[in-house]
């Protein structure tokens, strides 16, 4: 194929990227693979010996494991946001990221989904959670937020997969032509025999629109529901109405941060600089800034309101967070999530990839800490002073956390080699649009 046609170099580079493995990739694959194995081994230990291997106790019944669950679900959010919401808002910079972000979403949900299982005391009867009445005539309790989670997370997984896949169909068809032999066949099958006829495009466009329309409220609701795991309780520090928007904002914050963390090296190592321009990163940076403002705003509101009413419970709880044994983490979270991102008000910061990369990591450190503080501090200091206690994680929890990152990166590395990491067709379209505009006076 010639380079003359609009966007053909996108096609070449992206599909070309599929071919070159490189030692970095293999090393990464090995490391993350080992971590993923570690995750499963440690989980096995928890199942066989019991959750006593963790640092959990009375009153702190949830900690690192649930923190990870919330964290990964949060990571999962940017994908659909970038794909669906930005699609509806017709934001151009979407095209550089949507594919990898969608992949990220799918993998993050897979990883996140493991944690509710890991933290179960008796995972071997997890099927009590599923809505089937067999042999017991008794159902799950749909009044509990956990079945909401089951539904929300599975729904989100399925819809994201569909969205991810549908968006990829035309590109798969392209890939098929570029790759000879078996893989070509595989891509052919995956592309369902897409040919890009007018008919197909017409329905395809509608489908994509509807998927986006469904996915957008889903994004909001999924993390709202996750937030309600805490907010429906009456635990001081958990039971507060702002949680839904607060968590959603936080999720998007961490998600976009993860997009930066992943896409900046990917851009470099797959040599896609040409197709992921800085301008697009600036767009992402703006989202990050915006959500960080919302999150910081919530911090202020929450700490402030704790002093508003007469009840001692809230007041003590928030004082405990800021000045208790967890104060270090608390202030770390404030700095990472609410202060450092403010640098993005500067255009230079928004356009500096190294800073964005670092910031992405810092923000995710901050977001992880936020969930940890929120969960652990609230539990360790609730109503009955006699029952107050403190928690610190054990090797098992730390290992499992590391393992979850391993599993996630394992998935992502595979993706970066096996599938087109940039939406080729859409990029072409975008290029065409740009060309069209420049054409018109």
């Amino acid at each position: 194929m010639t380079g003359t046609r609009v966007g053909s170099e996108v096609e070449r580079d992206v599909l070309g990227a599929i071919r070159r493995p490189g030692w970095r990739w293999l090393l990464g694959l090995a490391v993350s693979g080992l971590l993923a194995v570690l995750l499963h081994v440690l989980w096995g230990a928890l199942i066989v010996r019991g959750l006593g291997l963790t640092g959990l106790n009375n009153p702190v019944g949830w900690a690192v494991l649930i923190t990870n669950f919330v964290f990964w679900v949060g990571i999962a959010h940017s994908g659909t946001l970038i794909s669906a919401v930005l699609f509806l808002f017709r934001a151009r910079f979407r095209t550089s990221f949507n594919r990898s972000a969608e992949a990220m979403t799918v993998f993050a949900i897979l990883v996140a989904g493991m944690f509710p299982l890991i933290h179960l005391g008796r995972v071997w009867v997890f099927y009590f959670l599923l809505p089937y009445p067999i042999e017991r005539l008794i159902w799950p309790n749909f009044r509990s937020p956990l079945p909401w989670d089951v539904f929300a997370v599975t729904t989100y997984l399925i819809v994201s997969v569909v969205f991810f896949y549908v968006g990829m169909i035309p590109d798969l068809a392209l890939a098929r032509r570029h790759l000879p032999g078996l893989r070509g066949r595989i891509y052919a099958v995956l592309s369902l025999g897409w040919q890009g006829t007018g008919e197909q495009w017409r329905h395809y466009a509608r489908l994509y629109l509807f998927l986006a329309a469904f996915a957008t409220p889903l994004v909001a609701s999924v993390h709202s529901i996750v937030s309600w795991d805490f907010a429906v309780s009456i635990v001081p520090g958990w039971h507060t109405t702002i949680f839904a928007p607060y968590f959603v904002a936080g999720a998007i914050l961490s998600g976009t941060a993860m997009v930066l963390t992943l896409s900046i090296p990917m851009r470099r190592w797959l040599g896609l600089e040409a197709h992921m321009p800085i301008d697009h990163y600036e767009g992402i940076a703006k989202i990050l800034l915006f959500t960080s403002l919302l999150v910081g705003y919530t911090y202020v509101v929450e700490q402030g309101l704790s002093l508003y009413g007469p009840s001692p419970f809230e007041r003590d709880q928030y004082a405990f967070r800021a000045f208790g044994p967890y104060r270090g983490l608390f202030w770390l979270m404030v700095v990472c999530n609410a202060i450092l991102p403010l640098t993005l008000f500067l255009r230079r910061a928004r356009r500096s990839l190294p800073w964005l990369f670092v910031l992405g990591i810092l923000v995710n450190v901050g977001m992880w800490t936020e969930r940890f503080v929120l969960i652990v501090a609230s539990l360790s200091h609730d109503f009955d002073p006699y029952a107050w206690g403190t928690y610190s994680p054990t090797r098992y929890e730390i290992g499992i956390t590391a393992g979850s990152f391993g599993l996630f990166f394992l998935f992502f590395l595979l993706f970066s080699r096996l599938l087109p990491v940039i939406a080729i067709t859409e990029s072409k379209q975008a290029l065409a649009d740009r060309a069209g505009e420049e054409g018109t006076p």
């Binding site: 966007g7 809505p131 009044r143 369902l192 897409w194 509608r206």
Partner: protein, 144 residues
């Protein structure tokens, strides 16, 4: 039966518009495009496809299923928790809402496959052609 190919979108559209204005019946025109060009459909005066009906049907079915499942589950084995009413709508609406979205999306997807005739054996054939440029095929008598 004529086959016209274009690299650029604009000339493709121009030619298409010309064809239609020249009175070529749209149903005789077949297109192939490397990416979506909304205007093409407008020019051919095609109505937005029926995918939405699938989406709608799916959504309604989902909401119904959600409510039915939850309400049936508590009525069939009523257990009092936290003093809440046996049929506690707020949480059940949530389940309904989630299934609305799930079934809606799946419905839309199914509809798409149906309408776009995919997976298409023709497309799967080894020699199937894929547009990496814009193609207009006018069937029937020779175009000028």
């Amino acid at each position: 039966m004529t086959r016209l190919e274009f690299d650029g979108r604009e000339e493709f559209l121009a030619r298409l518009r010309a064809l239609v204005e020249a009175g070529t019946p749209p149903e005789r025109i077949r297109l192939q495009m490397p990416f979506e060009v909304a205007e093409a459909a407008e020019i051919l005066g095609e109505r937005p496809g029926a995918v939405r009906f699938f989406a709608l049907a799916g959504a309604l079915a989902g909401f119904g299923t959600g409510l039915a499942l939850t309400i049936y589950s508590v009525v069939s084995f009523p257990l009092r928790v936290g003093g809440k009413p046996i049929v506690s709508l707020p949480p059940f609406l949530l389940i309904g809402y989630l299934l609305t979205i799930l079934f809606g999306s799946l419905g839309a997807f199914a509809g798409f496959l149906l309408l776009a005739r995919m997976p298409s054996p023709r497309g799967l054939a080894a020699d199937a052609e894929l547009a990496d440029r814009f193609v207009i095929v006018v069937e029937g008598e020779e175009g000028r």
